[in-house]
Assembly symmetry: C2
């Protein structure tokens, strides 16, 4: 497998964690999201993913190579193809709760605070640095407040009891991202406990942005 990603991309970080948890290896190909206006906009990358977004995972079957996009779709694919070290609970109600936690990050926080949105605010809407940071913090706090409340019902060592799941895979990169933008996370003791517990695990440690070859 080949994983097209970028060290600081939260969505690529999720897929790196999932690959590690499942003890799968992939060739990591760096797509620099900033240099030269962003390599994700190149014609070559566009052929792989017309969305101009990382990650993209290239795998192969008996008909040749194929490319998958969208981090949650990629991770569900890995879960189905390589069921070892399951990252979703077996019970379908529990699975729905875990998926909802993951989506409360992937559909409600991250899309609003990712690079291209922050760039649009500044470049196209003329938003100043202070208002850009207000925007960033606003969506983190709104999302983390709700997630903290969910975790108070369901978390143990990790987001859902003591099993590492898709919810943790989404949470850890989002906390990393929030810290990078100096968000005060003291109001979220469950989130921070889970984040600390995950970051004791080798599979999370090795997936961290600073551990990647393209980190700078």
């Amino acid at each position: 497998m080949k994983l097209y990603g970028y060290w600081r991309s939260s969505a690529a970080y999720r897929v790196r964690i999932a690959l590690n948890l499942k003890q799968l290896t992939a060739e990591h190909i760096s797509v620099h999201l900033v240099k030269n206006g962003g390599e994700q906009h190149s014609k070559d990358f566009e052929k792989l993913n017309p969305q101009h977004l990382v990650p993209a995972l290239v795998d192969n079957n008996n008909q040749g190579e194929f490319c998958l996009t969208q981090s949650l779709a990629i991770i569900e694919y890995l879960e189905e193809k390589y069921p070892q070290q399951a990252i979703l609970p077996a019970n379908i109600e529990d699975k729905a709760i875990v998926r909802a936690m993951a989506q409360s990050i992937a559909c409600e926080i991250h899309p609003l605070d990712n690079l291209r949105v922050l760039q649009y605010l500044v470049n196209e809407m003329g938003v100043d640095e202070s208002k850009k940071m207000d925007w960033y913090h606003h969506w983190i706090h709104l999302g983390f407040n709700a997630l903290e409340s969910q975790l108070s019902l369901h978390a143990g060592q990790y987001c859902f009891g003591d099993q590492v799941t898709l919810a943790d895979i989404c949470l850890v990169p989002q906390v990393y991202n929030a810290q990078r933008f100096n968000v005060d996370l003291q109001a979220y003791p469950h989130i921070m406990r889970v984040w600390q517990n995950c970051n004791k695990l080798d599979d999370f440690i090795q997936a961290a942005p600073e551990q990647q070859d393209d980190a700078c």
Copy 2:
């Protein structure tokens, strides 16, 4: 089952389509997203969903009632609990492609163009109507351009060949939403063909916003 939704909510619209496709009935409870500052912010609704978002689905098992949130998690739950009229392909690569199409809408377009974001732009950032509409149109066109390219590879009558899937369930409400904001969709012949084909089906027709009791 009880579905807490709102006639114009794209995410509730998705769940309504899925329920219809699976020939499931639910009591529809309207949460007015605008009246009185938004009923989704009420204390009662917060107990169901601390995210203050519709839809929320209440179902029950032998231990009593439980509440699920996030439209895609709800729909995957329905798919697993009620496998009749499958809305995901059986093959895991195909399934990943369908999920990625759905997520290209649910994680890349809708989160940027939904009510609370448009409200934040106007109320907190002082953005005028014209720039708000530029924002709205920008994310639709970016997302639909990429999706059109994916559909050129995979679409038949519907987004993925001739099977109605999760991708169609996400596409139809997004097109409805785009038309409401006067987005010119001529550049997307595949999207519009699929949208028209879906809207010939009773399960989609009955789920449409204007067909709901709380429509006004």
